[in-house]
């Protein structure tokens, strides 16, 4: 195995995630795409960790942190979406245009 294959795979997964983030209207699906991006990052972490033979397994540890933080993010994110839905009766991102005054 070479590092390149993992990197390319990670990049592809990440780009797909980005694509999802950019195109999905439904907020839940945006979050879901973010999870894909996180997974891509994790792949890179673990691949580099194995490649570097890190004594303290820093890459793996960090991917664990990413998982944990990702889980937290989903929790909070869904809670926010829930709140928005409750207030605006919609979970569509493009209707959240309060930024445009």
């Amino acid at each position: 195995m070479i590092l390149g294959q993992f990197i390319i795979l990670g990049a592809a997964l990440f780009s797909l995630g980005v694509y999802g983030v950019l195109t999905r209207r439904n907020a839940v699906l945006v979050l879901l795409s973010v999870e894909l991006m996180l997974a891509a990052v994790n792949i890179n972490f673990v691949a580099f960790d194995t490649y570097a033979r890190d004594a303290v397994a820093g890459g793996q540890i960090f991917s664990l942190f990413v998982i944990a933080v990702g889980a937290a993010e989903v929790g909070i994110g869904l809670a926010i979406i829930l709140l928005i839905f409750r207030n605006r009766q919609s979970a569509n991102v493009d209707e959240l245009d309060l930024m445009k005054l």
Partner: protein, 696 residues
């Protein structure tokens, strides 16, 4: 004290051994090495008076008089020791080193400075004594003595200076104490203005002093006078830098001297300085402080005398001196204020000293400085005594004081005779020496090309000056002490504390000239000649009979005419009082319009339009640019924001044409939709990072 006696004794022995054994210069022993007390004691005392003066029995005067007594004694002791055995030694204490040049405090003990120590000490002592009576009941009695002592200290710092730095320090200290004392009654705007005028005029001249001192010191690489004068002594070839800038340095230093010694046209401050209490006028603006300029030229004299250095400057000096002595003497003729008369007379006498210096007569100039200090101090104190009695400065309020104030009268007459140059009073000898020196300069001692004829003109002016001097002094004496009393109340003699100093000063005024009779006594010549670097000036070995007679005749004529006009006849007096010479009188009355020129031509424009223009520039030009830039940035920001907020959307909504021409792109940019912003962010990131990737 034992040491003092021992030194004097040894010195006497040395003189007895032979005439020229005294030429060997001694370092003065303990007496000289303790001479640092001379400048330091009054400085410390000034602070002591400020803080503790009020608690003393005589409110600070006691400290001051003790200090001046000490100065007088120490000065006399040094003088005696020096006469016995010439002392010339510099003491230096390094206080810093800047680059490789040391900065030092120190004290010079040589003929010139000893003469000044003695002068400041003795005259100062009498004036301080007198001041107790004169200032009795003053609102700021203690403060007066503090500043007066500070002045004495400053003057002694100045004359004890063995280097340029200390000279400047003393110079400015004297200036400041002068400012304090002229403005002593600062409640009155005129007085503080006079004080400021004195300080500013001196400051203008100080530019010259600074520049001159800098040029000289930097060229030689040392601030010490001894080093500078050694460089001069070795000749222009050995000190090329100094020689190259000698003219400018000499001129600049002389400009500095013109300020303190109130030479034309920087003399304007001195008459106004009479706003201070009379003892101040007496000590500072007659006897000592104003001699600082002459002292400076004397200190640097070899520089002005040695070929290859600042010899050309001497023609400037002599012209300035002659103009001063003549023009200011004339003004004295028309003054009513007795102190103003004496002030202009002081200017005139300072002109004599300066002219003598310019003529290359070191000894003569300093001798006149020496004698003048005594009789001018005496005259001021006498005038003060009269003012004290009649509560007015104006001679038109006096008259007939002779019978009420005998001590004042007789001492004043002695002073006047001395000033007028009547034999055998002090002024006679010194003025005669100056005339002789100028004549000598006009004959053999070429000042510059064509300098001979220049000195001849100066000679004529100087002899006329002698006449004018005698004339206005006669006027003063007759108007003040003779005739009918014209003021209010009944005048009476001043208290003893005031007339004792008058007598004390009258004695030297009468006899001190005898110490330097050409061909007979040469105590003074040896005194001021006792310096490390000898001053090779011309000094007459015998009387110049022609000049002696000319000067004496001019003086006697002056007194005679004065007596004819203001003396005996009472009936015609009012007519004469109101008589005005048509053209000359307004000119003199207005002091040649010089003051007006300075005020309206220089000071007011600078304080007014020029300063306001600069301030305007600051507010309206520089700040305009700054504020303009700031406000411009702000309005650009506002436009962008407006464009951002309304312009784009508004335009799109309003006009389909705009939509067609790229409206889609713009709408994409500004939708308020998060994801489209996100696209842009990602795109921008990709482009930027891509750029970097391609770059490396």
């Amino acid at each position: 004290m034992l040491q003092l006696l021992a030194t004097a004794n040894a010195a006497l022995l040395a003189t007895e051994e032979g005439g020229h054994a005294a030429e060997a210069l001694s370092d003065g022993g303990l007496l000289a090495s303790m001479a640092w007390l001379i400048p330091v004691v009054p400085m410390v005392a000034a602070f002591a008076i400020v803080f503790y003066g009020k608690r003393m029995p005589y409110k600070g005067w006691d400290i001051a008089i003790a200090v001046m007594g000490f100065e007088a004694l120490y000065g006399t002791a040094l003088l005696l020791a020096h006469i016995a055995n010439p002392i010339a030694h510099d003491f230096q204490i390094e206080i810093a080193r800047i680059g490789s040049m040391p900065i030092e405090w120190g004290w010079a003990v040589d003929g010139l400075s000893i003469m000044m120590y003695f002068l400041v000490g003795v005259v100062g002592f009498f004036v301080f004594l007198y001041a107790k009576g004169y200032m009795e009941g003053d609102i700021r009695y203690t403060w007066f003595f503090a500043s007066f002592t500070l002045f004495a200290g400053g003057m002694l710092v100045l004359v004890s200076a063995p280097n340029m730095i200390q000279l400047i320090v003393g110079w400015e200290l004297v200036g400041v104490s002068s400012w304090l004392l002229i403005g002593h009654y600062w409640e009155d705007h005129a007085n503080s203005s006079a004080a400021i005028k004195a300080m500013i005029t001196n400051k203008v001249a100080d530019v010259g002093l600074f520049v001159g001192a800098i040029i000289v010191s930097m060229s030689v690489g040392s601030f010490r006078f001894s080093d500078i004068l050694h460089a001069v002594e070795t000749g222009a070839a050995e000190a090329p830098t100094l020689a190259r800038y000698a003219f400018w340095a000499g001129l600049a230093l002389f400009i500095g001297a013109m300020g303190k010694s109130a030479q034309f046209p920087l003399h304007v401050w001195l008459p106004d300085a009479m706003a201070g209490p009379t003892p101040v006028s007496s000590l500072m603006h007659a006897a000592t402080m104003v001699t600082a300029g002459v002292f400076l030229v004397g200190r640097m004299f070899p520089f002005y005398l040695t070929e290859g250095f600042a010899t050309e400057v001497r023609s400037v000096i002599i012209i300035v001196g002659a103009l001063t002595l003549f023009l200011t003497g004339l003004i004295a003729l028309v003054q009513d204020d007795i102190k103003k008369v004496l002030a202009y007379s002081t200017l005139s006498q300072l002109g004599y000293m300066t002219a003598a210096m310019g003529a290359g007569a070191y000894t003569a100039g300093l001798f006149h400085l020496f004698t003048h200090a005594f009789f001018k101090a005496l005259l001021f104190l006498g005038a003060g005594s009269a003012i004290h009695a009649v509560h007015s400065n104006n001679m038109s309020d006096m008259g007939g004081l002779k019978k009420d104030m005998p001590y004042t009268y007789w001492t004043f007459v002695i002073g006047s005779l001395a000033l007028a140059g009547i034999v055998p009073f002090a002024g006679f000898f010194s003025k005669d020496e100056i005339l002789a020196s100028i004549r000598y300069a006009s004959g053999e001692f070429s000042v510059a090309d064509g300098g001979g004829s220049l000195a001849s003109i100066v000679l004529v002016l100087a002899i006329s000056g002698a006449f004018i001097t005698a004339f206005y002094m006669a006027r003063t004496v007759f108007l003040t002490f003779h005739g009918e009393y014209k003021g209010d109340g009944h005048p009476h003699e001043s208290p003893r504390i005031m007339w004792v100093p008058l007598v004390g000063l009258a004695v030297p005024s009468a006899v001190i000239g005898l110490i330097n009779i050409p061909g007979a006594t040469e105590v003074f010549t040896k005194l001021v000649g006792g310096r490390e670097i000898p001053v090779l000036d011309h000094h007459a070995e015998s009387f110049d009979v022609a000049m002696l007679l000319a000067g004496l005749a001019a003086a006697l004529l002056g007194i005679f005419i004065g007596w004819r006009i203001w003396g005996p006849d009472k009936e015609t007096q009012p007519a004469r009082d109101t008589f005005r010479i048509p053209l000359l009188y307004p000119l003199l009355e207005n002091k040649y319009y010089i003051d007006d020129f300075y005020m309206d031509g220089v000071i007011r424009p600078i304080r007014g339009p020029v300063a306001r223009a600069i301030n305007w520039t600051n507010g309206y030009v520089l700040d305009f640019i700054i504020n303009g830039a700031g406000l411009l940035a702000m309005s650009v920001g506002k436009v962008v924001y407006w464009f951002d907020q309304r312009g784009v959307d508004g335009a799109i909504n309003a006009s389909g044409a705009v939509t067609g021409a790229g409206g889609g792109m713009l709408r994409l940019l500004q939708t308020g939709k998060v994801q489209q912003y996100a696209i842009l962010i990602f795109a921008a990131t990709v482009i930027m990072v891509g750029g970097l990737v391609i770059w490396f």
